[in-house]
């Protein structure tokens, strides 16, 4: 039964992915992307990684996509943007990209198919392992992977500063005259 659910989920993911990249309207594309995210989260659930699944919904679909939507809100101009977008993206102009991607897809598919069958079957015969709890992940994060946490914190800090600095409008940056009585 899990197989069936997986296949349906996979179909949803792929179809909404296709729709998101071929949309003309940014908002439509973003909404399709959210559906893709939700599908991916379901796949995580099927794989027994509940923590990852929860995080996917909360952070990815909940925060990152909202960020996208905020920016779209600032930049999207209705009919004019739609017309512009139709001008920019046309299937006939993207033939080369399509060919390149399909070649890559075929090669990698072939690579996957080369994997011998015994490995696959042994893998698929594996027992259900107990689901990994949040507690276990927490212990890992505070133990062996503590450095990673610190590094990712630094990365977020730098991204924060960068984002603030770049998106300041030019008018709000004033050069203060030198104060000689310091």
């Amino acid at each position: 039964m899990l197989d069936t659910i997986f296949i349906i989920t996979a179909a949803v993911i792929l179809i909404s992915a296709l729709l998101t990249i071929t949309a003309h309207n940014v908002v439509h594309a973003l909404l399709y992307l959210v559906i893709t995210m939700l599908g991916v989260s379901l796949v995580f659930f099927l794989l027994g990684s509940s923590f990852a699944a929860a995080l996917q919904i909360i952070v990815y679909a909940g925060a990152i996509m909202v960020l996208f939507i905020f920016v779209t809100m600032m930049l999207h101009q209705g009919e004019k943007s739609l017309a512009q977008e139709r001008h920019l993206f046309h299937f006939s102009t993207s033939i080369t990209a399509f060919i390149l991607c399909s070649i890559l897809f075929c090669e990698l598919a072939y690579l996957i198919l080369l994997t011998p069958v015994e490995t696959l079957s042994s893998l698929s015969q594996a027992q259900y392992s107990p689901a990994i709890t949040v507690k276990q992940i927490g212990i890992q994060l505070y133990g062996p992977y503590s450095l990673l946490v610190v590094i990712s914190a630094l990365m977020l800090l730098s991204a924060l500063i960068t984002a603030i600095h770049i998106s300041k409008s030019a008018a709000s940056i004033k050069i203060k005259p030198e104060d000689n009585n310091l």
């Binding site: 080369t96 990209a97 390149l100 070649i103 890559l104 090669e107 990698l108 072939y110 690579l111």
Partner: protein
């Protein structure tokens, strides 16, 4: 102070004074004192050595200044070697050199570059002394190049005039051709004999080679002869000497009459035992000498520039010395070298006094009747011309007669007749020179008389020209003369009466005013040919310079450079090609990433497939 140390001082003293003159700014008086003093001291030392070794024949004195090159078998030191040949040479060089230095203090007094002149002159004397005192061929070559350099510097002394620079270049380049041949000869000698020490070469050559197996010896001797021909202005490298008269007259006297041009003769005389192994080369030497003799004399007959007459005369007299060397009479060659140094220096210095007094006028046909106005100059000129013409009991008479006797004794009748013809022409043009300049109608009058220094030098040289017939006995032991007893009456008497015949012919032509004008148009062509020194300049221009210019014209776009320009063009083409990849287009960059991934996976997959 031991004699060896005294020997060391001889070449070093002028070098030291040249260095001091180069670096210190002294007044004219001190410059003269230093320059003339150094050469006079060397002259005194050489006179002392002459006294010491008087009537000794087989003396050898050596000294060493240190090591120079010490690699594997090549061991060269700054060694000095004095035997009777070198002693004669240093006596001449220092004696005539001192007198010329004294003369120059008067001649060059008003010149701005007084200090530079004496620096170069002292440097020259030092290099020449190294040349004649060297005990190995490499040190000799060092002196050889040194005198070549100083000759260039002194010919082009008044460098502001472009013609002087061209003349200096010509002298340097033509002697360079000879020097290159000599260098190759040195290399060959070293390879074959393993040493460059002169005395060792003489001995080893006879061991390694013999008269029947003498091809390599002949080649070495020919190469050394090449160097001598260049330096001593013999055929075919003789046409630099007339143009070298662009330098100051004392320079012409010292370098191009008395010392530098005799370096070639010294070289062959020094290596006489080596040359004995190659009799063919000696014959070539004699032929070259004879040819040059006639060439120089016939060209001197028709010149109108005072110094050019003397230059061609020098070429001709050097030809006599080569002729003597070629027939195996080395002692007579060096004897003639000595007497020639005296009377030719005298002639040049008198010519210098003449030019000085007549405000730099060189054309003899603008002069005339100067006998009463410049008595000292006139008398010195007379003595010099008579020595040149080898009138009896002048020094020139003794040396030239000796050479002619030696030529006969070696059974070369043809060369003897040529030498006699040369003697006739020599007497003719020296008489012509004297008559045109000093007798007849006065045209220019002198505005200065020669200074005291110049007059003293001239008087001393007059004495030497008359009394220089004392043959140093040491030379006869070193290079024994040939037996000169079996001569016919004609051959014995002809050279003595010949100059008188020539002088009377010249007197007749002078009185009938045939000098300076060419009546017959048929003779005009010959006159032009002789005046241009047998058109050697033009010949060399056609043979060497025009083809070279033609080839340069062909190579105007530099064929060899094509290869490098091809490299440059290729890299430009590739640059243009590759810079198309950097088009600033973000999507093409992404596409190139994807293409690379595709290719990498294809590579990997092909590897998998093969497995």
């Amino acid at each position: 102070m031991s004699l060896s140390n005294l020997l060391l001082v001889i070449p070093l003293l002028p070098l030291l004074s040249a260095i001091i003159l180069l670096f210190c700014n002294l007044s004219r008086l001190w410059i003269s004192v230093l320059a003339v003093g150094s050469i006079s001291s060397v002259s005194l030392i050489s006179l002392f050595l002459n006294f010491h070794f008087w009537q000794q024949t087989d003396f050898v004195l050596t000294a060493s200044l240190g090591n120079w090159i010490n690699i594997a078998q090549l061991n060269i030191g700054f060694g000095l070697y004095l035997d009777s040949l070198s002693l004669v040479m240093i006596t001449i060089i220092s004696g005539v050199g001192a007198l010329i230095h004294l003369y120059s203090t008067g001649f060059m007094f008003e010149d701005k570059s007084f200090k530079r002149y004496f620096t170069y002159l002292n440097l020259f004397v030092s290099a020449m002394l190294f040349l004649v005192l060297a005990d190995n061929l490499l040190l000799l070559y060092l002196g050889w190049e040194g005198v070549g350099l100083c000759s260039y510097l002194l010919i082009g002394f008044w460098y502001q005039d472009k013609n002087n620079n061209l003349a200096a270049n010509k002298a340097f380049l033509m002697t360079r051709i000879g020097d290159t041949a000599m260098a190759i000869g040195l290399f060959l000698l070293f390879i074959q004999l393993g040493t460059l020490d002169i005395q060792a070469i003489q001995i080893k050559a006879h061991i390694v080679w013999s008269l029947s197996d003498n091809t390599i010896a002949s080649i070495c001797c020919l190469l050394l002869l090449g160097g001598a021909v260049g330096k001593s202005a013999q055929f075919p490298l003789q046409n630099w000497l007339p143009d070298a008269m662009a330098g100051p007259t004392p320079v012409s006297a010292l370098i191009h009459a008395a010392t530098m041009v005799t370096a070639g003769i010294y070289l062959i005389a020094r290596n006489s035992q080596l040359f004995q192994l190659a009799p063919d080369v000696l014959y070539i030497v004699a032929l070259i000498g004879t040819l040059t003799l006639l060439l120089g004399a016939s060209a001197a007959m028709v010149q109108s520039d005072l110094k050019r007459i003397l230059a061609y005369s020098t070429i001709s007299q050097l030809g006599y010395m080569f002729l003597a060397l070629g027939v195996g009479a080395g002692a007579s060659a060096v004897f003639h070298l000595m007497t020639h140094a005296f009377f030719k220096a005298l002639l040049f210095l008198s010519a210098g006094a003449l030019i000085y007094s007549l405000h730099h006028e060189h054309n003899i046909f603008k002069m005339g009747g100067l006998f009463k106005k410049l008595p000292v100059v006139a008398v010195s000129f007379a003595i010099g011309c008579s020595a040149l013409a080898s009138l009896p009991f002048t020094s020139g008479f003794f040396s030239k007669e000796l050479i002619l006797e030696q030529v006969i004794a070696s059974n070369s009748i043809g060369l003897w007749w040529a030498a006699v013809l040369g003697a006739f022409i020599t007497a003719f043009y020296s008489a012509r020179l004297f008559f045109v300049v000093f007798l007849g109608q006065a045209q220019l009058s002198p505005n200065k008389t020669p200074t005291k220094a110049m007059s003293i030098a001239l008087i001393i040289l007059c004495l030497f020209s008359l009394l220089g017939g004392i043959q140093p006995s040491g030379l006869t032991a070193l290079m024994p003369p040939l037996n000169a007893d079996n001569l016919t009456v004609l051959q014995h008497r002809l050279p003595i009466i010949l100059p008188f015949i020539a002088i009377s012919v010249a007197w007749w032509m002078f009185k009938t005013e045939r000098f300076g004008k060419t009546q017959y148009s048929a003779l005009k062509g010959i006159h032009q040919l002789l005046k241009s020194g047998w058109a050697f300049d033009q010949m060399y221009y056609i043979i060497f310079i025009q083809p070279f210019k033609f080839i340069c014209q062909l190579n105007k776009h530099d064929v060899i450079d094509l290869f490098y320009r091809l490299i440059e063009k290729t890299s430009c083409v590739f640059h243009k090609l590759f810079s198309k990849f950097q088009n600033g287009h973000l999507r093409s960059y992404n596409a190139s990433l994807v293409i690379f991934c595709i290719l990498a996976f294809a590579w990997f997959l092909s590897g998998e497939l093969i497995k």
